[in-house]
């Protein structure tokens, strides 16, 4: 559908951690600038989680549960324990100097103080975790609903089987037409074209974002289908670029870094 396809297979391998180091770096570089591919990677990770299900087997032995709960009970909270230790030692020293109470008595109290603070910190941690759990299921349901809504909104725009109809004045011949929807603060761009003339072999249309200052920025290549329709969704774009206009040229199949004259179609970006 668009140039993200070229990353599709590598993204699947990336989600499985099955790429070579150099290929991984290449994908990570692309991911840094491409929201669509980041979204696809999240989807792919969800798919690999499904794969995990084919492993359902025996339950872990009971001793594993005891071992984990034992380890958690022993797990030190480095920061709070450290502070408490110092405070307890300090208190014990002062007390010895001022009141002359025996060392071992105070050590006992200090240890008790440490244990109390430790227990409280464990309890807090536990209840935070419980809260996270409780909100998790409602958040999951909510985000699932939102994702479904978004999918419904986006489907007629980007699905290839969508019927695209351009209405023009009766008896007027159909004109090539492109519409760009650009959200600068998210570097998000959806572009739809209709009635585009067929291209010569080895050629492609290229969309350009003309910034307020600086040279035109490539915003994706596309080839119209048999009905002259095409779309581009979230091509990689530099963050936060303000668009003055969008333009279309015909380029060689791989696309170009600078536009080749003539400009076939152009539209100024309104506010």
């Amino acid at each position: 559908m668009n140039e993200h396809e070229q990353y599709a297979e590598d993204l699947a391998l990336y989600a499985l951690d099955a790429l070579r180091r150099d290929e991984r770096a290449n994908i990570e570089q692309h991911l840094a600038t491409c929201a669509a591919c980041r979204l696809e990677l999240e989807q792919l990770r969800g798919d690999t989680a499904l794969l995990a299900l084919s492993a359902a087997g025996p339950r872990p032995p009971q001793r594993a549960r005891q071992r984990l709960l034992g380890a958690i009970a022993r797990e030190p909270r480095t920061v709070s324990l450290g502070r408490t230790d110092q405070a307890a030692n300090h208190a014990a020293q002062e007390a010895r100097q001022e009141r002359g109470i025996g060392l071992w008595g105070w050590v006992g109290w200090a240890v008790t103080a440490v244990l109390v603070v430790f227990a409280v910190s464990l309890w807090q941690e536990n209840s935070a975790l419980r809260q996270t759990l409780a909100s998790a299921s409602s958040q999951v349901a909510e985000s699932r609903r939102e994702a479904e809504e978004l999918r419904k909104i986006a489907a007629p725009i980007i699905e290839p089987e969508t019927q695209r109809v351009t209405l023009v004045a009766a008896k007027a011949p159909p004109q090539p037409q492109g519409k760009a929807f650009y959200l600068r603060n998210r570097s998000s761009l959806v572009f739809l074209a209709n009635n585009m003339p067929a291209l010569p072999p080895q050629k492609t249309y290229e969309l350009w974002l003309i910034p307020v200052s600086g040279p035109p920025i490539p915003a994706g290549v596309f080839k119209p289908d048999a009905h002259g329709s095409a779309s581009l969704v979230n091509p990689p774009l530099p963050a936060g670029t303000e668009a003055k206009a969008f333009a279309i040229t015909v380029e060689n199949e791989a696309g170009a870094a600078t536009p080749t004259a003539p400009i076939l179609m152009m539209g100024a970006a309104g506010e």
Binding site: L16, L19, G57, P60, T132, A136, V140
Partner: protein
Amino acid sequence: MAELYDRYSSVVYAVALRVLGDTGSAEDVLQEVFLQLWRNPSAFDAARGSLGSWLAVITRNRAIDSLRKRRPETDIEDVVLAVSPDLAGEAELARASQKVRGVMGTMTPVQRSALEMAYWEGMSHSEIAHKTGEPLGTVKTRIRAGLMMLRKAFQP
């Protein structure tokens, strides 16, 4: 934590055991995954997916690291996945598990084995191509197509 453990330990243990093939090492990974969740519960972002799926992904990655005797390569906070079916509860887990095995059953043997080598053995695409004697491009295509079949089966 005990509640979380009771709910998800079966998935975590099964994944670790399948990768490592050894109950002792699988228990170690089980321990490590739940301890990490205990130490850093905020690493899991509930808005982005189900805890069961997230744990499955973390576990598989840790088990592969352990299999390859390498240090953990991914930070658990970097693992973000799309909203997917929650794997909590025996019944839901069993149903989903059966469905996944059904989809795997419809794949051609070469496709299933490419996917399994990548997922369960942590083999890279070039290692798989070398082992099967198939072109790199074919292996890549098979792996992605396999994942897409799974995705499609679980789409609402």
